[in-house]
Symmetry: C2
DNA sequence: CGGCTGATGACTGTTGACACTCGGCCGGCC
DNA sequence: GGCCGGCCGAGTGTCAACAGTCATCAGCCG
């Protein structure tokens, strides 16, 4: 007995699946910043009840993907250039802590190895914008995870929503974001050398560059 | 006409009021870490329906005050000593960014003034543990706000839940937390001098001390 | 013409009921 | 005795219906 064709069933709740579906749709750009998400329409489209959709929407609101609009409605978050810059400053601070953690950790060598593999995956994604974003974020998340600080990972994840919305919603014209493997290599190099100050410096300029690219050309508001 | 006795009505939804009530109860220690929060019981106690309670509970889950337990139930988050230490490392990184922001900002003088007033309020709270916690967190939040980085404030707020649960749930025996005004003064002093490195150093040791106090005596798990 | 007043449609807020799952208990059957 | 089965009880998951709120607009009246 025990046929191998029987795999474990999907135990996720409708709420979780709706959450995932909505998040994916938003991050894929199917809804643009400022778009309104109505409970009734989504419930009909997903084939589930309004209450369940509602829970998923509230979750996304706390994730920072949605913001309250007039009359209790929700819409996709649109970050101002200032917020984008602030966002990337916070990222720099968090990933700075991650770098320090990795350098101080016992398994630094293996961590460097894993980071290098992430860079290879990043390189392979060249050409496909979505895949590149995926690989880029995966690299930075890996950096946090390798620090061994679970609260840091949780905090970083909390910023992931706004980051993705921002990155995905830039116009096609200036998608020359600093996501190439070459841009990330100096970070890994500095970690390998155990050069914390150098890594921080590289990281900070990396973030500043991305922020400038995403926030738009020079305007200060 | 226009009698001044008519004030604006309370426009908050039931969900928001339930959320506030539950958060307050948890942070007041009315529910201890590990306690189970059942929808039916809470709905009955608050006099509202389960669905509404549910939304509030999910919100608190995302805030980090509640964590999933067996069979989809929720219970008050109990942070391990390791998590406490990690939490305070992240805090140090974030508030380090805040300090840098305040020092770099144009209104540094006025910021220092506001921080000094917060210290005075902290001093006045001496003796009353709950008030002291309140004043202490208010000081640190103010620090973030004065940096002018709204994303930083949002991120810090995201950690506020776990911080409060941890601080409030320590036994009475070792409530000698480094919350006195004297402990915070060096931070403000360094900011006033524009000494970023010094401020970071003070901040880091401040956090390390608090983490050690909260995480318990020396155990490493 | 200008302002007030209802009707209307499109939403979200809230609720009570029903469905389902899980763990524990108990009784019968080998 | 040990095990298998079904039967609770306590939870959460999901839903459909009802209620309330708000912006809009047509119509009325001064």
């Amino acid at each position: 007995m025990a046929p191998e064709t029987l795999s474990s069933l999907d135990r996720s709740t409708l709420r979780e699946r709706a959450l995932h579906a909505l998040r994916t749709a938003i991050l894929a750009g199917q809804y643009r910043p400022g778009d309104h998400l109505g409970e009734v329409e989504l419930a009909g489209r997903l084939g589930i009840s309004r209450g369940t959709v509602r829970e998923a929407l509230r979750h996304l609101q706390q994730e920072g993907l949605l913001v309250p609009a007039a009359r209790g409605m929700l819409q996709v978050h649109r970050l101002s250039p200032t917020e984008v810059r602030e966002l990337y400053e916070v990222r720099a601070a968090l990933e700075g802590l991650a770098v320090a953690g990795v350098i101080a950790s016992a398994g630094r060598e293996q961590a460097v190895e894993e980071l290098r593999q992430a860079l290879i995956r990043l390189d392979r994604a060249a050409g496909d914008f979505a895949a590149q974003v995926e690989a880029d974020l995966a690299f930075h998340l890996l950096l946090c995870e390798l620090s061994g600080n679970s609260m840091l990972v949780r905090t970083w994840r909390h910023l992931e929503g706004p980051i993705r919305v921002t990155v995905m919603s830039v116009g096609d014209e200036r998608r020359r974001l600093p996501m190439s493997a070459a841009r990330h290599e100096p970070i890994v190099d500095a970690v390998e050398r155990g050069d914390e100050a150098g890594a921080l410096e590289v990281l900070r300029s990396h973030m500043a560059l991305a922020a400038a690219q995403l926030a738009g050309p020079g305007d200060q508001n």
